[in-house]
Symmetry: C2
Amino acid sequence: MRYSKLLGKTRKEAPKDEVSVNAKLLFRGGFIDKLMAGSYTLLHLGRRVEQKIEQIIREEMNETGAEEILMPLLHPKEIWSETGRWDKADKVMYKLKKGEKEYALSFTHEEIFLDLVRKHILTYRDLPVKGYHFSTKFRDELRAKSGILRGREFLMKDLYSVHTSSKDLDKYYEEVKKVYLKIFDRLGLKAIVTEADGGVFTDRVTHEFQVLSDVGEDEIIYCPGGDFSQNSEICKVKEGKQCDLGHGPLKKARAIEVGNIFSYGTDYSEKMNVVYTDNSGKKQHVWFGAYGIGVTRLIGVLVEVFHDEKGIVWPSQVAPYNCHLITINKQQLTKNKMDDVYNKLVKAGVEVLYDDREDVSVGQKFADADLIGIPVRLVVSEKTAGKVEWKNRIDSKTELLGIEEVVKRLKRSEAA
Amino acid sequence: MRYSKLLGKTRKEAPKDEVSVNAKLLFRGGFIDKLMAGSYTLLHLGRRVEQKIEQIIREEMNETGAEEILMPLLHPKEIWSETGRWDKADKVMYKLKKGEKEYALSFTHEEIFLDLVRKHILTYRDLPVKGYHFSTKFRDELRAKSGILRGREFLMKDLYSVHTSSKDLDKYYEEVKKVYLKIFDRLGLKAIVTEADGGVFTDRVTHEFQVLSDVGEDEIIYCPGGDFSQNSEICKVKEGKQCDLGHGPLKKARAIEVGNIFSYGTDYSEKMNVVYTDNSGKKQHVWFGAYGIGVTRLIGVLVEVFHDEKGIVWPSQVAPYNCHLITINKQQLTKNKMDDVYNKLVKAGVEVLYDDREDVSVGQKFADADLIGIPVRLVVSEKTAGKVEWKNRIDSKTELLGIEEVVKRLKRSEAA
């Protein structure tokens, strides 16, 4: 992609009401734009990061045998009334009326998924089912100044599972817990499984996946050995108490919730009368679980965790492009010659962001590359004499390499 | 994917209010479910088809130098008021109020894209820009009985382009026209470029892409030689009139609109005051175009065009899976042996839907395969004696092949 053609280029300033590091850097780097409070456009670079996160999640969801679907965003009042959440979640839901009919915008999809299930499931042979989608959620929450960590409109991966027994649900719940940790690990994040309150979702205890960060809205009390963590909303023990397993004193820290899993038992299926026929011919309520990951939020979390004073430092697996190519042309070489390396990289199938701007200083280009945070910076100039200067975002060492070596290294890092 | 685990299996009947062939077959085949009038869930098989359509469109959009982004769905009233469409499009828009603020759901994104542009574009050097996204549209239109050809909530690819001159806009408009024909051609559809009325979008003439079909809501008058086509809403000539270029009499036919392109000139940018600085330092209004393809609708169009009395006949490039594997196990062979071919296909990277159900007759499995419409049916049984029976959906001839040959053929068709 030629940087000169991109709509969202770097900017000197983020909007004044954006105080978080993630929003500032994502704004200044040209990853996002703000339509209104809590609502962001993903510009091209931001959409690329989002798609890479999405693909990692998709692969891991499929590994659990879950099937990808896509549920609607505009929901009829009737279905939400069945569980009582039309009223209970009134504060957070966006509702509207058109003609005689009342609707809610998707703030979550439990009811919609169960409605789908009860139209399809007949017997124990059809269970379990596990369906997930990537889709938009709308939540009118009190605004914290957290940038895209908390949007009123945002992308979420939500997975729902339906089972014949408590045991089967528990087994899948534990499987998803592990898979979530694997996903966050693939994204370069260390998440702590944390017991928490279920809010408008359930009265039961749920599990959140918390990434330590000073800007987190949550506070957790956790064991450094990894065997205990609770959201301080529900935690009855205090920091400093000794861990029962001898890992030392419990710690308290701020954290960002990146995922949340819910085991609902038969609460929802009883309210919505979702049943299956068991192997003795009896009708039984299904067992239900839900599992969410905040996809848009993860973009912000990654920036909070991976940045330095110059800008973002994307882990390579979610970087918008694999390399950032800069040409320096002080002696007015022909444009063709400058484009040569770009064309070769594209032809080799490398994802390359090419800063081909002619009206911008070299210093500005270098500063923009650091701000945008792509893992590898490549420079071509008269000085590099037919070779390419390679520099990793995270260090200051440069190397002169032939184009074949550049391609080989980049392909290797893609495959990793 | 194991068919036994899928949520949406084949059904004997579609809902009674669905009268269109596309909705009936998509329902019965387990591709879609209906949440409410005009609103459909894409089940797993439907989502797969949608994703394949999306990827073909994405590749062609990128070829034109357009950048993929993602704009929000909930829009502030203020921006829609700038062009007057908050009132003008009142009938079709879903609106809501939360607290003191009024919003509209995305029925299109012209205003939102131009708002984005005016926050970024400074000079002629930044233009043109071409941004597209795949996103949800909400339109409360009079319901025709057209299944997913006309939803109240549906997926659309919309592309917007901003230029410094009429000439540059025209050039890109013509480029997109050609690219759209290429996209429909890749999908196996013959689209006719047709002049049409601009509705709530513009007073200018626009171009629709119409696919001939008896169930189409539109009627077009067109030359069989391809040099003239108008939507009969605006057409002043009659069918039977001789084509000026000697292609014989004009024809009249029903058709389904699958895409629509709009050249707005400076109408929108004047209303929204979207300007750039030209090379003499003067402020000028930008030239604006928009280009839509109905992604969900295309699923329905493909079914209308490609089906027979037994079910759907997907073109291979959009089929949910490349082959449909059926095992017949009358002599109670071990499950491992039955799964052997499936595992080999998966390992070879073939997309395979595996009907591994044990409680369903062979006849039912064959009927389901014809209904679902995957291009290649594979059968493994005691009779096939270590080989695999290959049958194309479109003919009745069967062949016995070794697994290596099966993989080779399927990989070849994927690459094509």
